[in-house]
């Protein structure tokens, strides 16, 4: 227990619950965060000496609340501090607090804390930054690095975002069932954004951005523990685990993007895949399908294929068609094109995606996929043009390099090649 690494892990895993409860109590984000900080400092002082509390979160909430009240009192009148023992002495109190922290209660607390981070007025990047700062407790410096901006710029961004949500007036009463499920949907979308922010990074940024993927998985697990019977929460968690399982195989030694077909599948993380598969199986039993479950089911089919040629493309294509009807979007149709081409050939896939061009004219992946299909059809000149547009729209150096590799192949040989996205 005197191991400081263990204390830090206990503090960070208790953070969402503790800050969420303190927010309900103080109704002010800054006060809640300060109270939590103070409680952590006390934990670092007393835990090594007194041993671990049975429930770290309850301890932190209780001590945080006391020190928050105390700080307010001190601001009001310069009264002397009560002795340390009365603030951190929890002999009897802890069990009482634990009783009050029943599941349903802190579930709404944490959901509220996450929900205020995804306020619709905030642009996606600010939602992500805010959630990472407030809920996950990631230092501003590290968030700044992930977003490739300076620390003070990120600090400002977070302060501005906080000011904005301070006026949002999220009610503190327990939400009704409809409101709760609406909040949950918004929060799941935000967690997915956090993950994608890390997942879409190139090899050079991966060191700074991979933690975003891990943090998103942590948040998904947290939500899953709070909503253990929600199939979409299982679906999202499964999806993130299955995607993240491929992380080690997605870039080669030179930092080039490796397509799924070319990935060394022995580098896929078996433990993450197994957990993802277990969760998607569990979700499917509920027979209440949703977009995250469908996407996880697609990822599961890839994960279950020992070799690329074992992939069940017919089932993947079918799942994409379900996803298209559930959440119609040109991007979903574009993603379907890969499976479509495997089943019906590049010509048919090209016909599928060509009508999307007006809507996806600014989308890197559209021209990447289009170029790939044209290349397979041996239409080198058209492929070159599509790849040219893809490079112009690339978001990362790795994306651009990947397309350039195709272009080089086109110049070297005019043989048809496969061009699927990773």
């Amino acid at each position: 227990m005197t191991d400081p690494a263990w204390i830090n892990t206990a503090l960070s895993s208790a953070r969402p619950q503790a800050v969420a409860a303190l927010l309900r109590y103080f109704r002010d984000l800054d006060t809640a965060e300060e109270a939590f900080q103070e409680a952590c400092l006390r934990a670092l002082r007393t835990w090594p000496k007194n041993g671990p509390p049975r429930d770290p979160a309850a301890w932190l909430i209780f001590v945080g609340r006391n020190s928050g009240i105390d700080a307010a009192r001190r601001r009001n009148k310069q009264a002397p501090m009560p002795p340390e023992e009365t603030i951190s002495d929890l002999e009897d109190v802890e069990s009482a607090v634990v009783e009050r922290l029943d599941g349903a209660h802190y579930r709404d607390d944490i959901l509220r804390l996450l929900f205020i981070c995804c306020h619709p007025d905030l642009p996606a990047t600010q939602q992500i930054a805010l959630a990472l700062r407030i809920v996950s407790g990631i230092p501003v410096k590290q968030i700044a690095r992930a977003f490739l901006v300076g620390e003070s710029a990120m600090e400002q961004r977070i302060t501005r975002a906080k000011a904005r949500i301070a006026n949002a007036e999220v009610p503190f009463e327990a939400p009704g069932p409809v409101e709760r499920s609406e909040r949950l949907a918004a929060v799941l979308a935000m967690v997915y954004l956090v993950f994608n922010e890390g997942y879409s990074a190139g090899a050079t940024e991966i060191a700074n951005r991979a933690p975003l993927c891990e943090e998103a998985i942590r948040l998904a697990r947290l939500l899953l523990r709070l909503f253990q019977t929600e199939p979409e929460v299982m679906g999202l968690t499964a999806l993130l685990l299955l995607q993240h399982a491929r992380a080690a195989a997605r870039f080669d030694a030179d930092g080039e993007l490796v397509l799924m077909d070319d990935q060394d599948r022995s580098l896929w993380n078996r433990a993450l895949i197994d957990e993802g598969l277990a969760l998607i199986d569990k979700a499917m039993r509920h027979r209440r399908s949703g977009p995250y479950q469908i996407q996880a089911a697609i990822a599961a089919l890839h994960a279950r294929a020992a070799r690329p040629e074992d992939t069940d493309w017919a089932e993947i294509d079918l799942l994409y068609s379900v996803l298209e009807s559930m959440t119609p979007s040109p991007v979903v149709t574009l993603n379907r094109a890969v499976a479509y081409a495997k089943l019906r050939g590049p010509e048919a896939a090209l016909k599928l995606i060509e009508p999307l061009e007006p809507k996806l004219a600014g989308y890197f992946h559209f021209f990447g996929v289009k170029g790939g299909l044209l290349m397979q059809l041996g239409r080198a000149e058209d492929a070159r043009e599509a790849f040219g547009r893809a490079i112009a729209l690339a978001n990362t150096a790795a994306e651009a390099a990947h397309i350039r590799m195709h272009l080089d192949r086109l110049s070297a040989e005019s043989l048809p090649r496969n061009g699927m996205s990773a």
């Binding site: 942590r218 523990r225 253990q228 277990a278």
Partner: protein, 124 residues
């Protein structure tokens, strides 16, 4: 006598371990289990996925009920077990102490004597 050493811990905390932390703990635990294996005293060892991946089948009079969970109302969850051959309870306590030293922090080990043991085949 065979003892099952059942591991209980807060899965929120265990799931929050970084990969480095996890690898470190596992390496230290392997030193303990390696010693037992060399002495021919180590039986099956399992680490369980979090309870969120679990399903429960409740035996009811009619059709059994399949539900998610266990819903962890308790603060510590059943996260794994070791089967160890120990001549006395003291020996089992010593093994658990070694495990606790290798994996410090919260949680507990429950030492449960095994009354019957079947190992029909290796599955993994």
């Amino acid at each position: 006598m065979l003892y099952a050493i059942l591991c209980y811990n807060n899965e929120d905390v265990v799931c929050a371990w970084s990969k480095e932390q996890d690898d470190e703990v596992m390496a230290r635990l392997q030193v303990v289990t390696g010693k037992l294996r060399d002495q021919g005293r180590l039986g099956p060892v399992a680490r369980l996925m979090p309870t969120t991946a679990a399903t429960t089948l409740r035996k009811t009079r009619d059709e059994p009920l399949v539900i998610d969970g266990p819903f962890a109302e308790t603060k510590e969850q059943f996260l794994g077990f070791y089967v160890v051959d120990c001549a006395t309870l003291d020996e089992a306590v010593d093994v658990a102490k070694d495990l606790a030293e290798a994996n410090p922090g919260g949680g507990s080990y429950e030492l449960r004597p095994i009354s019957a043991f079947f190992a029909p085949r290796e599955v993994a």
